[in-house]
């Protein structure tokens, strides 16, 4: 009996940590929180409202709070208005005040208050060097509020997204941005520059492919110094698809003999090892299972699908048995998220949806239900996925919180995205 009980507990714990199992009933109560505008100094109203909107958005994305959508104005120092908020059911008040310094710095002051008894939970101060970086101010505030309540970490909100976008035929540029793509800064321009990929978790350098030389060439660029190092070049194409956890190895798709295949590249020794030999298309290699295996996209069955093999050789295993076009994937640990075309008509509606699978189980979890959902990418917590969603003529940045079973969309105004990494 005791052994049976232990077995049951073990099984329950396994299910609780498998993101492929969808959580349909959430018994946890989410504290009701309101973000209050506690004033601004030297900051235009538009920027202030955008900042507040971002902070509210971030707290919603944390999926821990029941965030009040209404606009509330309060004095930073006094308790005025607190009682009526508490009576309406608000439990937490985040008062936020921003001001711009003479030197251009943007400062934020935040008080987190228990609305029921008026207790000050904490007060914190933030600063950022330039006003246009205000999204990161909002993200840092949200992260701290989230951490205070012991909610699952959302520190990934501080990370930069790097993406390439087409500017005209045969031309593209590379930018870094915050996760909502509100802040954007161009870092590579001129010619065709594609497939940017962060080289490490510190995000101090990235790989990208340049078409401005005789052959497509892979470069490594230091974001802070601008130093550019040539990694490799190849006729046809060359792309850095994934980077190992320690950054010492990368998976490259290249075509030295006009044949696109996946290679394991050692960054220090510059040696490469061919991993795929199929005569058709093998691309988008991603490390899984402690970087011992890779998953990749291949059309060896006549249509793009996801396969797995060991980096040490051996046979190829088919991972997905549904859909007729699974041509984009991202991995984290044992999890793989991929984009699957589902419409019978090549160009019909509802054509690409996202799915989540694990290398350890047979479960498949559908993550989206409509539109064209592309470029899925895991955040470094493995519990959050960003993607780009197209519906009609509109596009949005999507954020999926896997364990909370929630998704959020941010209207996108970033141009035609070529590739994105997080």
């Amino acid at each position: 009996m005791k052994k049976l009980l232990i077995l049951c507990i073990f099984a329950i714990n396994l299910i609780a940590f498998d993101s492929t199992i969808q959580i349909v009933k959430n018994l946890e109560k989410h504290p009701r929180l309101v973000v209050a505008d506690a004033g601004s100094l030297g900051v235009d109203d538009k920027t202030k409202r955008k900042f507040l909107k971002l902070l509210i958005g971030d707290l919603k994305v944390s999926a821990y709070f029941n965030v009040d959508k209404s606009y509330v104005k309060m004095d930073y120092m006094s308790d005025s208005g607190m009682a009526s908020l508490a009576n309406s059911g608000v439990e937490i008040i985040a008062k936020s005040k921003i001001e711009k310094e003479q030197g251009g710095k943007l400062l934020a002051s935040v008080k987190l208050i228990n609305a029921k008894n008026g207790d000050l939970l904490y007060e914190k101060f933030y600063s950022i060097s330039k006003t246009n970086r205000y999204p990161f101010l909002a993200h840092n505030i949200a992260i701290d509020i989230n951490n205070y309540f012991g909610a699952p970490s959302i520190s990934w909100m501080k990370n930069y997204i790097i993406f390439a976008r087409y500017t005209s035929s045969g031309e593209s540029e590379i930018l870094v941005a915050d996760y909502t793509l509100t802040f954007k800064k161009k870092i590579i321009s001129g010619g065709l520059n594609v497939f940017p990929k962060w080289a490490n978790s510190k995000q101090d350098s990235f790989y990208y492919t340049s078409y401005n030389e005789l052959h497509p060439t892979l470069y490594l660029v230091n974001v802070y110094t601008g130093k550019k190092t040539k990694i490799a070049s190849s006729s046809g194409m060359i792309v850095c698809s994934d980077v190992s956890r320690d950054g010492s190895k990368i998976l490259i798709t290249m075509a030295p003999n006009d044949q696109p295949d996946i290679y394991l590249f050692d960054v220090a020794s510059k040696s490469k090892k061919r991993l795929t030999t199929y005569k058709g298309i093998d691309v988008s290699g991603n490390f899984v299972d402690n970087d011992e295996n890779i998953v990749f996209v291949s059309e060896r069955l006549g249509y793009p699908n996801i396969f797995q093999k060991s980096i040490n050789g051996g046979s190829v295993e088919q991972m997905i048995y549904h859909g007729k076009n699974n041509s984009s994937c991202s991995s984290f640990g044992k999890y793989i998220v991929y984009s699957s075309r589902e419409s019978k008509n090549s160009f019909g509606k509802n054509v690409f949806n996202l799915y989540l699978i694990s290398t350890q189980t047979d479960f498949i979890r559908k993550l989206t239900t409509n539109g064209k959902n592309m470029y899925p990418r895991f955040a470094d917590d493995g519990e959050t996925v960003i993607f780009i969603k197209y519906i009609g003529n509109k596009s949005a940045l999507g954020v999926l919180r896997l364990n909370a079973n929630k998704s959020f969309l941010f209207p996108l105004n970033a141009g035609k995205i070529q590739s994105i990494d997080w």
Binding site: S169, V194, F195, G236, V283, S327, S328, Y375
Partner: protein, 184 residues
């Protein structure tokens, strides 16, 4: 008087015939025109032959650049079906015609850059690989028809160089293509 009149007449004739514009002789049976065809071949694109016939030899071009531009205008783009890098019979015919241009006297000293392209559908890396496979299909066919492999180089631009930007089947078809660039 009579002698001078006759002399003047003769001189006039000489002058007139000497200054008249020479009509270039067009050698329709020689190497300046698609030498792979003989009278029994069916020509599917008459305008192409007419165009080639007007370029009788390289010395009629002011520069190599001009020659390349003239030849480039005769080369046909090759198109593909959705998600495919297979060549239809119609597209194979185009490649056949392009082979004759590439191996003709006007162009046989030039390199050929074969550029693979895709429509906006599909995903980033896969699209670039698909473009490359399209370029390779064309290269392999050209090679089998007698174009020297060492003259050819491949590149894939994926969906980065659309001919048109509308979101309809006609536009997508135009973008699923292989282009050729002739280089010195």
């Amino acid at each position: 008087m009579r002698k001078s009149t006759i002399l003047s007449f003769v001189m006039s004739v000489v002058l007139i015939t000497g200054c008249s514009k020479k009509i270039p002789e067009i050698d329709t049976g020689g190497v300046s025109v698609n030498s792979g065809y003989d009278n029994s071949d069916t020509i599917s694109n008459d305008s192409q032959i007419d165009g080639m016939a007007s370029m009788d030899n390289s010395s009629s071009f002011a520069s190599q650049e001009e020659r390349i531009v003239a030849i480039q205008n005769e080369v046909q783009t090759v198109y593909f079906a959705t998600d495919s890098y297979r060549l239809s019979d119609n597209e194979m015919q185009k490649i056949d015609q392009n082979t004759n241009i590439f191996n003709g006297d006007l162009a046989n000293d030039l390199s050929i850059k074969i550029e693979g392209n895709c429509d906006e559908w599909g995903t980033d890396e896969y699209n670039y690989a698909l473009g490359l496979k399209r370029a390779k299909s064309v290269k392999d066919t050209l090679s089998s028809l007698g174009v020297d492999e060492s003259r050819m180089a491949l590149i894939s631009y994926g969906e980065s160089k659309p001919i048109c930007a509308e979101h309809n089947t006609g536009c997508w078809q135009q973008n699923r293509r292989v282009d050729f660039k002739l280089l010195p």
